[in-house]
C-alpha cells in the first residue's frame, strides 16, 4: 500500500509539472498584452505614456525571457508566493483565500447532495426495476445528464425566484453572517451543480446494484431470510459503490468547471468567476495559480479515491 501511494504521489508530481507548463505557456499564446488590457479597461491608457507601461512590465516581470519568467514563477510557488494580480493589485493568495471558501462551500454541498441523492435513486431504481418508480426516475436521469447547467439555472431563477418568489435570485452571504439567507441562496446553485452528478451517480449505481443483487451471495442472503434493509445496506450497497466512488472523484473536477457557470449565473463571488474574469483580462498570475490549485485538488481527491477502493473491496490489492 505504501509503495502504491508513493508511486501515485510521484506520478501526481509529474502531472503537476506538465500542468504548470501547459498553463504557463498556453495563456501566453493568447494574443494581446495583459498590461494594455489592464490599462485600457481602467481607462488609465489615456494618461499612461509608453514608458510607464514599460515600468509596469518590469514590475510584473513580464520583460524577462519567457523561460526565466517560468523559472521565477516556479521558485515563487515553492516559497508559497503566488504573486500579485495585475488587475486587482492584490496578492493572488489573498484573492484565492477570499474566493475558494465560497466555491468549496457550494461545491462540497453539491458533491454531498449529488452522492446522497444519486445513490438513493440508483438503489431505488435497481431494487424496484421495471416498477413505476423506476419508469419515472430512470428517464429523469437522462434529462439530468443532458440538461445544460446554465439553462437549468435560468429556468430555476424564472420559476423559484421570479414567479414563485421562494428563493433569492443571486448572491452569496457567509453562513456565519446569516445562516438562513445563506441556505436559501445556496439552494438553486447547489441543485444546478449537483443535477448532473445525481443523474450520473444514479445511473451508475443502478447498473452496479443490478449486477450485485444478481450475485449468488445476495441470493443466499435472501434464502437465509435476512430483511431487505439488511441485504441492501450491508451486502449489496457497499459492493456497488466502487464505480460510484470513481464518479465522485471525477465530480471534483466537474465541481470546479461547473463553478465557472454557476457563479456567473447566480452572481456568486467564487473562484470560478475569478478565473473567468482573469482569463478575459489575461491576468496571468491569477489564472496560473488557480489552475495549479485546482489541479492539486483533483489529484489529491483522485488519489484518495484510488486508496478507498481497497477499503470498499478488500479483494483489491495494490501492487
Amino acid at each position: 500500500m505504501t509503495t502504491y501511494i508513493i508511486r501515485r504521489v510521484l506520478q501526481a508530481v509529474i502531472v503537476l509539472i506538465i500542468v504548470t507548463l501547459i498553463v504557463f505557456f498556453v495563456i501566453r499564446l493568447l494574443p494581446g498584452d495583459p498590461l494594455i488590457i489592464y490599462v485600457a479597461q481602467t481607462a488609465q491608457l489615456q494618461a499612461m505614456p509608453p514608458e510607464m507601461i514599460e515600468e509596469l512590465r518590469v514590475q510584473y516581470g513580464l520583460d524577462k525571457p519567457i523561460m526565466v519568467q517560468y523559472a521565477n514563477w516556479m521558485l515563487d510557488m515553492f516559497r508559497g508566493d503566488f504573486g500579485e494580480s495585475i488587475y486587482y493589485h492584490e496578492d493572488v493568495s489573498q484573492l484565492m483565500a477570499e474566493r475558494f471558501p465560497v466555491t468549496l462551500h457550494i461545491g462540497i454541498s453539491s458533491l454531498i447532495v449529488g452522492a446522497i441523492f444519486g445513490i438513493l435513486v440508483g438503489v431505488i431504481t435497481a431494487v424496484r426495476r421495471g416498477k413505476w418508480l423506476d419508469k419515472i426516475l430512470t428517464p429523469l436521469t437522462y434529462v439530468g445528464i443532458t440538461i445544460p447547467v446554465f439553462f437549468l439555472g435560468i429556468l430555476m431563477i424564472y420559476f423559484f425566484g421570479v414567479k414563485l418568489g421562494w428563493l433569492p435570485i443571486s448572491g452569496y452571504t457567509s453562513p456565519f453572517e446569516n445562516f438562513w439567507l445563506n441556505t436559501r441562496q445556496l439552494v438553486m446553485p447547489v441543485i444546478c451543480m449537483s443535477f448532473f452528478s445525481i443523474a450520473a451517480n444514479a445511473r451508475q449505481m443502478r447498473s452496479s446494484m443490478l449486477e450485485v443483487i444478481s450475485q449468488d451471495y445476495i441470493r443466499t442472503a435472501w434464502s437465509k431470510g435476512l430483511t431487505e434493509r439488511a441485504i441492501i445496506l450491508k451486502h449489496a450497497m457497499k459492493n456497488s459503490l466502487i464505480p460510484v466512488i470513481t464518479l465522485v472523484g471525477v465530480g471534483v473536477g466537474i465541481l470546479f468547471s461547473g463553478s465557472v457557470l454557476i457563479e456567473t449565473i447566480f452572481a456568486i463571488p467564487g473562484v470560478g468567476r475569478l478565473l473567468v474574469s482573469s482569463i478575459f483580462g489575461q491576468d496571468y498570475v491569477v489564472v496560473q495559480a488557480i489552475t495549479l490549485v485546482i489541479a492539486v485538488a483533483i489529484l489529491v481527491v483522485n488519489l484518495l479515491v484510488d486508496i478507498s477502493y481497497g477499503w470498499l473491496d478488500p479483494r483489491i490489492r495494490y501492487g
Partner: protein
Amino acid sequence: MKKFLVIPAALILVCILVFSGCGGDETSTPATTTPTQTTPTTTEPTTPPAGTPVYGGTLRCVSGAIPNNLGYPPEKAPSDNYLMLPVLERVAEWDEDGNMIPVLAESWETDADALTITWHLIQGVKFTDGTDWNAEALRWNFQLGIDHNTLTDGQYVESLEVVGEYALTMHLNSFSWMMVENYGLIQVISPTAFESSGTTDEARTEWARANAVGTGPFTVAEWMRDDHIKFEKNPDYWQEGLPYLDAIEIRYIPDAMVAAATMEAGDADLWMAVSTVQNIIDLQDQGLKINWGPGMFVTLLPDSSNPDSPLAIKEVREAIEYGLNRPAIAEMLGQGLYEPLHQMASSTWPGYVEGYDPRPYNPEIAIGLLDQAGKSAGLTLKVMATSAGTDAVAAIQSYLGEVGITIEPDIADLGRYFGAVFGTGWTDLVFTASGINPSTTDLFIHYGPSPMTFRTGNIYKSPEYLALCAEALDPMYTNVLEALPKIKEAIRQAGEDAMIVPLWRTAEACIMQTYVHSEYPKIHGIMWSPEDDWMEAH
C-alpha cells in the same frame, strides 16, 4: 424497502420547509417622514405629499460593474469613479447642458493671459475622518494625479500654489477652457487619512485601494470585492438635510438576464447602466421607471493614414457611408432605441450640427464612388470587433456586400482588440464605441489632435480639421459655449473629410422601481447625485 422511499421524501420535505419557511424577504421599506432640518428620522411613518422627498430606506442597486479600487485615484477605472460618488465628491461637475457647476468649489477664475486657474473652495466642509477640506487638501490631490500622470491635462500644470486657506492657484504652461473641466472633475480623498494609513508608499496605496475617505453624503460600510458594496449615511454631511437615504447597497450582477430577473422579482430597487435593449423594453413594459443615459457613440474607424490602405482614398470611405443604411441597422439592433448617426456627433451632444447629413444611404452613389476610386471590381476589408459587435458587423457586412465591398469580420478577444485599438493599431476598419459627455471634451479625447484614446495614428486627420480643433481650444475661449461654433465647424470638417464612419448612438438606461426617485444617470453616465435620491414608502 419502503424506508428507502421515506428517506428521499423526508429530505424533500425538509428542503421545502427550508425554502419557504425561511422566506423572509429583505425588501427595504423606508419610513415616510418628511424632511425636518438636518435631523432625519426613520420612525413614525406619515404620508407626505406626492413628490415630496422622504427620508430613510436602503436603496438596493444592481450593477454590471463594482468598484475594485475604492480610494486610490491613480489606479481608478471609470466604474470605480462614478460608483464611489456617494463617498468621493468632485470639485465641480457638469449640469445637463454641459456647463460646469461647483460641488466642493465655490467658484473658479481663469486667466488666459497669466495662464492660471484659481479654485475658491467652499468652507466648513470636512472629510469623514474629521479633517478639513481646504486648499492644501486640493493641492495634495492634484499633486497625486500629476505625480502618477493620471490627472487629465496634468502635463500643463507648472505649479500649484495655495494662496489662501480655501484658494488654490494652478500655474499652467498653456490654457484652454477644457482644463477647467478636466481638473474640476477630480474626486478628492482625505490626504490625512491616506498619509497616516501606513509607513510606506506601498502600505498606503494598499490601504487606499480598500478604503475611501471623502466628503460625500455616505461612507463605506461594507465592501466585498466583486460582490457588493454598502454605503451608509454620513450624519455630518455638509449639505443640510441630505442625504435622504439611510444606505445604498450596490450588488454586482454581471449577467443582464439575472439582473433583469432580480428587478422583476423586486429583489432590487434600481439597476444601473443598462445597455441591453430587450431588458430595457421588457422592464419598461412592466411599468418600471426608466432614466435615459447618454449611450455610446458607435463608429467604424478607418486605417486611413496608411497610404497602402484602400481607406486612404476618400471616395472609399465615402462609399462605405453611402452603402450603409444606418437608420435601418440602428432600428434593427436597437429596436427603436438607437439613434442613427450621420455626423461625428449625436443629437444629444452640444456640438451637433443641425440638419447635417452628408452621406445618406444611397447604394448607387456608393458604387459610383468605388468606380471613381478604381475599385469597380470590388474590394475586401477587414472589420475588427469584439464579440459584442458581432450582430452589428454582420449587418454592415450585408449592406456593404451589396455595393461590392466584401467585409471579413475579425472578431477578437479583448486582449487582441485593446492591443490593436490602443496599442499597435489595426488593419482596414475597427468597430468601436466611445463615451458621450454633456460637454464636448470627448471630441478631443477621442478624435482631437492628440487624442487620449484612439491615439494609434491610424486615422487620417486633415490639416483643416486639426486647425479647427486647435482654434476651438484657443485661450480666448473661457468655456465650451464660447468655443461651440468652432467645435461645430470641426465636426462639419470631419464629415466633409469622411474622417470616420459614424454609425449610431446606443441606448443606456437606469431602470428603477416606481417608488424610487433618482437622477442617475440622466446627465451623463458618470454623473450621479446620490444625496438627492429617495424612495417612497413601498
